[in-house]
């Protein structure tokens, strides 16, 4: 990957909750117009890191700059140029999708047509439906639509495909790729290594609040293969999931 301009710069990020250190000295850059994956087991600090960048959570120390704005000094400016999809967030009760989009347009001060937003995520048929009545994949597509309302430079997606069936996942990958191709930077977290391999331009592995690897999926796999790794009954030499397990080296956690 040729040298690119960093749109997010995280330097020595530390987050402590009482006596528990959730994030201990993270540093990484997200380049403009890429899909950047934060991978790691539950409790590794992915969501905490995202929420600190999104200005939703205070940090203990470290420096974060998003498109030239500091999270300490310009949180309002950052909010205006980012779109956020939270893990398991609900929407205002009793409203249909069109009305929810109108609400967010008001909150962002954006002048958009709700129907056009719904068309972007292929939900125009559900314009009058309530959020609760949507399927899992439709809910995630709607959540992504709400992140696009303010025409953000960066969107953050926290486990958008968790709990979705394979078709819905692939459908969402296409949507996320389209968004990247339209010029938006995407930061995504996921548990699925096949997803990261397919979707992400670069990935960072987070373990116990630290980054233990950061590169393109291809490079990471090559490195592992070059180190002499071999799969039993191999079809291919390795996939990204092997890198993940090999690096974190621990049992799956809930």
């Amino acid at each position: 990957m040729e040298t690119k301009k960093a749109i997010i710069t995280v330097t020595d990020l530390i987050k402590k909750y009482d006596d528990f250190v959730a994030v201990q000295g993270l540093s990484f850059e997200v380049y403009e117009n890429e899909i950047f994956g934060l991978l790691g087991p539950n409790g590794a600090g992915k969501t905490t890191t995202l929420e600190i960048i999104e200005t939703l959570r205070p940090k203990t120390s470290g420096k974060i700059v998003v498109d030239g704005f500091s999270v300490d000094k310009n949180p309002q400016e950052i909010k205006q140029i980012i779109g956020v999809q939270l893990q398991a967030a609900g929407y205002y009760p009793n409203l249909n999708l069109t009305e929810l989009i109108e609400l967010f347009a008001g909150l962002y001060g954006a002048n958009i047509k709700p129907m056009e937003m719904l068309e972007k995520v292929n939900l125009q048929d559900k314009a009058k439906a309530k959020y609760k009545a949507l399927s899992g994949g439709q809910k995630q597509r709607f959540s992504i639509a709400t992140t696009l309302i303010n025409q953000p430079k960066i969107i953050f997606l926290d486990e958008p495909t968790t709990g979705l069936d394979p078709q819905a996942r692939r459908n969402l990958w296409d949507l996320i790729t389209e968004i990247r191709d339209a010029g938006t930077t995407v930061v995504i977290t996921t548990h699925y290594m096949d997803e990261a391999e397919q979707l992400c331009d670069r990935v960072a592995f987070v373990e116990r609040g630290q980054i233990i690897a950061l590169d393109t999926p291809d490079n990471l796999i090559d490195q592992l293969v070059n180190s002499g790794f071999e799969r039993k009954k191999e079809v291919k030499k390795a996939n990204l999931e092997d890198v993940f397990i090999n690096l974190t080296g621990k049992e799956w956690r809930e």
């Binding site: 909010k79 980012i82 967030a89 929407y91 009793n94 008001g106 909150l107 962002y108």
Partner: protein, 358 residues
Amino acid sequence: MKKYSNTTATLALAKASFRSIMRSPSAVVFTLAFPLIFILVFGFLGGGGTRIDVGVNPGSDVDNPVISVLAKTGMIRLVKDKSKEDFDKLLEKGNIDAMIDVHKKVNSAAYSVNVVYTSASRDKGGILKSVLNNVFYDKTLKPTVAEIKESTITGRQYKTIDFILPGQLGFSLLSTGVFGTAFVFLSLRQTLVIKRFFATPVKRSSIVIGEGIARIGFALIGAVFIILLGHFFFGFTLVHGAVTVVNMLILATMGIIVFMGFGFIISGIAKSESMVPPISNIVTLPQFLLSGTFFSIEAFPTWLQPISRALPLTYLNDAMRKVAFEGAGLWDVKFQIMILFIWGIVIYAIAVKVFKWE
């Protein structure tokens, strides 16, 4: 970059919240259905006033001015055609409130009226006594009596609806403010709706104000509906017409703001949605029962009255009645408004401490 407008954000929230409230069955039931049911029940029950059952003694003269005047008051229901024994039993149980026996005096145009009250129905007997005193004492002496009857009766016409409606209106505001606010903020917090809002440039104050505008708007629409229905169907007295309605709505706004403060506190201390109703009831039920919603506070035992006089709804009800029935202006009820204001300060001071955003 276009300048961000907090007003736009606040109004967008108010609009969303208002739509949501209008589609929420519980909000509509608490704000409109409950108060209307009570108003309908009391409206039809009373027929506009207290009713006193008076038995006419068998053998009494029935075709005389005394009986006909009593029948015309609309307040007194004359019970005839029963035996002396039946009447005695009814009187004993308080099923009728008094017995009347009218005879023409010998060698005179005047009547002699003999009334028997019952200790089973002292208060209604008392009303009858004063009615008789006012209407008939002079009557037996004078031949022309129509004017006295008219003035006496209209002067007492404080209808049930004039008492019940302001109380129900106050209760409607209380439940909308407390239950509605508590449920909405708790559920917005728990479903991370508020967290998602925080990822937009919206200010916290916009969220609270937007929600407040929607709830006040909804409560006032409910209030207008209750007042107009009471006025046109049950003869609720609005002394100065539209001005009185506006004054009542201003009082309603003050009331709902104070009551929403309770809701903010409850949303902060409740751990789950199932905890909202019990805690809300602790706030609303005592006020429902003790703030003169159904009965005048004076009717309570003296030890209970200080508690009644400490509750905010008491003062809202009081001010509403003064404005509606006595035609008082807002300045005339400044004492009640002041008490509400003090409650507001105390409640919001606590709300700021216990309210949780996430």
